[in-house]
Amino acid sequence: MNLKLRVWRQADARAAGKMVEYDAPDVSPDMSFLEMLDVVNERLTEDGQDPIAFDHDCREGICGSCSLMINGTAHGPMKGTATCQLHMRSFKDGDLINVEPWRAKAFPVIRDLVVDRSAFDRIIGAGGYITAATGGAQDANSLLIPKVDADASMDAAACIGCGACVAACPNASASLFTAAKVSHLGHLPQGQPERYRRVLSMVSQMELEDFGGCTLYGECQEACPKEISIDNISTMNRDYIMAGVGS
């Protein structure tokens, strides 16, 4: 299939960027979106042009490195799928595809489609972990956790920190990311001692990073490649309010 791409090109953080059109001929429907970009880049390199910079690593949907706003939706048209797992069979011959970086004040563009997502690392650094050193894994079932809690925790822990929630949110809010990180520990006994300190620190850091607030559009849940529920945001809000009201 033959496609046309319109890609955001920006030389560095301070340069002005613009959408540039490229032809992508002879694309196989079995290619992933990133493989298609690889092929486009190969041709650009052979022609002596700068290849399009984009983030990627595992290419199996678990690392959270890939991003891309594809035709106006984060990670493209497939629900519950990261860009690396999106295949070109989701497009039609002759399609014009817009490819843009995540847009948020907290995610400045470094180059082309690559943005700086270290704001997420700083939110985790503010408390998204358990401070006690616990040694090796203990024996299975020595700590009993109700199935409902274990499931809720695992669903939240599926977050790969890609930033699609921020990208899709009309307010560029990081609420779904922070909520997932708050509630995967909040559902487990190990997370209890620091539960309220954690939510206060992580929410404060989220504010410092200049993300917007949640107004419950629901776009984050729809864009999330791990389909993390906005129920987690409600859990985070409850913990934050409890932490503010309690001691």
Partner: protein
Amino acid sequence: MNRATRFYQAAIGKKAVMGITGLIGIGFVIGHMAGNLLVFRGPDAMNAYAHFLKSTGELLWIVRLVLITAVVLHVIAAWQLTLQNRAARPVGYVDRKPQVTTFASKTMRWGGVILLLFIVLHILHFTTGTLRPSGFFDEADVYGNVIASFRIWWVTLFYVIAMIALGLHLYHGAWSSVRSLGYAQPSKDPLHRRIALGIAVVVWLGFTAIPVAVFAGLIA
């Protein structure tokens, strides 16, 4: 920094304030609508009800103060959140396609501005009698004020439009306030909001019925 300031500085704190003040507003509009429907039971029922409210004296003023405070806090928090949210994305997308954003959630800000304007005009119209589109105003004859006003097409139209804004505001707000406050039950489909839809439809129909019925000549 004291705890209350720190709490309010986060968007979640502001949303908690919006949620609580919003729920106060929802409670008020449901009661207000139920009271207004007495207009269908004739002038005596309506005027007796209005007289009863006035006779509560200090209690009425306490309720009014709570409501005014709620509106002021709701508007201030909304204003601050809007500025924060707009600043969070200084460079927009060339192409962005919202997937699940409802018309109601998209119009919360402008709809809220319309409702604020409506509240001010509505108080000047029916409470203080400052605005008299029909020329008639009698503090003791609430029923008469209603009938005289809604015979005028543009007064009726303004109220009908304002109630569409209220219905939409409630459809998003009655659902999102509970979620902002952290009281949502885990759900297979968190975007579903049957209770909010019910509240929005009932309040919208209840309020809209009055000006429309008067204008159509069903009550006189």
